[in-house]
């Protein structure tokens, strides 16, 4: 196979001879030079797929077809059986509630996969602040890191951001709002400029209320699914605009994961009580309120609110787990002369 760049000795134990004659450790990502045949094979396969699917599309029902029976059924039962004027919501949490139940746990499985995959190699409690915790381990694994001025500046800024924060330090005030106007914008990943922060302050309440409104009123389509996604957007806006310190009390793995599983438990209870009280899984066991009120829809509303918790915290866990996996590098085995089980 093609030779590995940098065949100098193993970087593992700190020894004087390692890494001196080595070319720069940072390997430039190879420009994408595809072998020509791959492009052609891909194009032919994709074109074949396009032809096959297009042929299928010609003969499927179009805009003048009658609605499927399941859709008519859902429209017919939405008002009398569920007291909902929004058939989409009735389908999500009523007629096809079992489907949504499955989707919920598909989401939970995906979130658990992310948590498993991003689980850090060092002990830490939060999504943030991993760089200091990983410092020692990284020094063991990869002692010959070349640094330049840019990297040192970035590391210094990171240190200030992570834990080197001194209250009252004029270089880094407690909140980004305390930064004097006219000074350079807040440093590195900490916060955004005053323009963005003001815009976020204005948009945030509107977004949060809109997200909760989607859930609170049973005649909005989807309920908890879009509502939860909107709430994650609110969280991410605060993170992007004001820095991690503003959300670090809420965005903690222990807290988010507990709420997430409480939401999942509430969904299971909601659906299971239908089996116990009404004799069928996901049957409505709550009294129906008048249509177009907050409580209309019976368990559809309960399911929707639990789904808000499940989706909101689930997506937040996935996003912040991804953000927090930054510094968890494995030892660079390919720098070694013998590459056990590697290129063969």
């Amino acid at each position: 196979m093609r030779p590995v760049s940098g065949t100098v000795g193993q970087a593992e134990p700190v020894s004087g001879t390692v890494g001196q004659a080595e070319p720069p450790r940072v390997r430039a990502e190879a420009a994408e030079q595809e072998p020509g045949y791959r492009r052609w094979a891909g194009a032919i396969l994709a074109a074949g797929m396009a032809v096959a699917l297009a042929a299928a599309m010609i003969s499927i029902p179009r805009e003048h077809a009658a609605l499927p029976a399941v859709a008519r059924y859902a429209l017919a039962v939405a008002l009398p059986r569920w007291g909902l004027t929004e058939p989409v919501n009735e389908i999500v949490y009523g007629t096809r509630g079992f489907d949504t139940f499955g989707e919920t746990f598909l989401l939970l499985a995906a979130v658990i996969s992310v948590v498993m995959i991003t689980r850090s190699r060092e002990a830490r409690r939060g999504y943030f602040g991993e760089s200091q915790a990983g410092q020692r381990e990284r020094a063991q694994a990869d002692p010959v890191v070349e640094t330049d001025a840019t990297e040192r500046a970035a590391r210094a800024a990171e240190h200030r951001e992570q834990g080197g924060h001194v209250p009252g330090d004029p270089a880094e005030p407690d909140t980004p709002d305390a930064t004097a106007l006219g000074t350079p914008a807040p440093e590195t990943a900490d916060a955004m400029t005053v323009v963005v922060r003001t815009a976020i302050r204005i948009a945030l309440p509107v977004l949060a209320v809109a997200g909760l409104y989607l859930v609170a009123w049973g005649y909005s389509p989807g309920g908890g699914f879009p509502g939860g996604a909107v709430l994650v957007g609110v969280l991410l806006l605060v993170y992007a605009g004001f820095g991690r310190r503003r959300i670090s009390r809420i965005v903690r793995p222990a807290l988010l994961e507990s709420i997430e599983l409480a939401g999942a438990g509430a969904i299971i209870m909601t659906e299971l009580l239908g089996l116990l009280l009404r004799g069928s899984f996901s049957a409505n066991w709550l009294p129906l309120a008048a249509p177009r009120t907050i409580l209309s829809g019976g368990i559809a509303q309960l399911f929707s609110a639990s789904e808000l918790i499940e989706v909101g915290t689930g997506l937040a866990i996935a996003v912040f787990a991804l953000i927090g996996m930054g510094h968890d590098w494995a030892p660079d085995e390919r720098a070694g002369a013998d590459d056990p089980g590697g290129e063969r």
Partner: protein
């Protein structure tokens, strides 16, 4: 002319498939998979469309009609809209799984080039 939408969905899916098949950068592969997901959203929403239809909402019927008439009226297919709503959220979570795998591969192999990730090559 909803057929145009169907064919656009096919085109989108095949662009994503082409990216997955030919790109070596794994971030671009994930982008291709996301494009394929987006194609299914477009397809399901287009499939829900009916000519001259309204949203499937049993509210404020036109004068002289009741909500019961709306049930039999010309509305878009609510079942497919339901599929799309849930699929979007699941799509985000699945993309997060893909990306976390990509980050782990990058941290382990120090490359995003899928041709160089060959520990599992038999």
């Amino acid at each position: 002319m909803i057929l145009v939408n169907y064919l656009a969905a096919v085109a989108l899916l095949c662009i994503g498939l082409y990216a997955v098949l030919t790109k070596r950068n794994m971030i671009k592969m994930v982008m291709g998979l996301s494009l394929m997901e987006a194609a299914t959203y477009l397809f399901m929403i287009s499939l829900a469309y009916r000519a001259g239809s309204t949203a499937p909402v049993l509210l404020s019927p036109p004068p002289g009609k009741s909500a019961g008439d709306l049930v039999h009226g010309n509305v878009a297919d609510p079942v497919l809209q339901n599929f799309c709503l849930t699929a979007v959220v699941i799509g985000v979570a699945v993309t997060a799984v893909f990306l976390s795998v990509v980050v782990r591969i990058a941290q382990h192999y120090r490359t995003l080039d899928s041709d160089k990730v060959r520990k599992m090559r038999g």
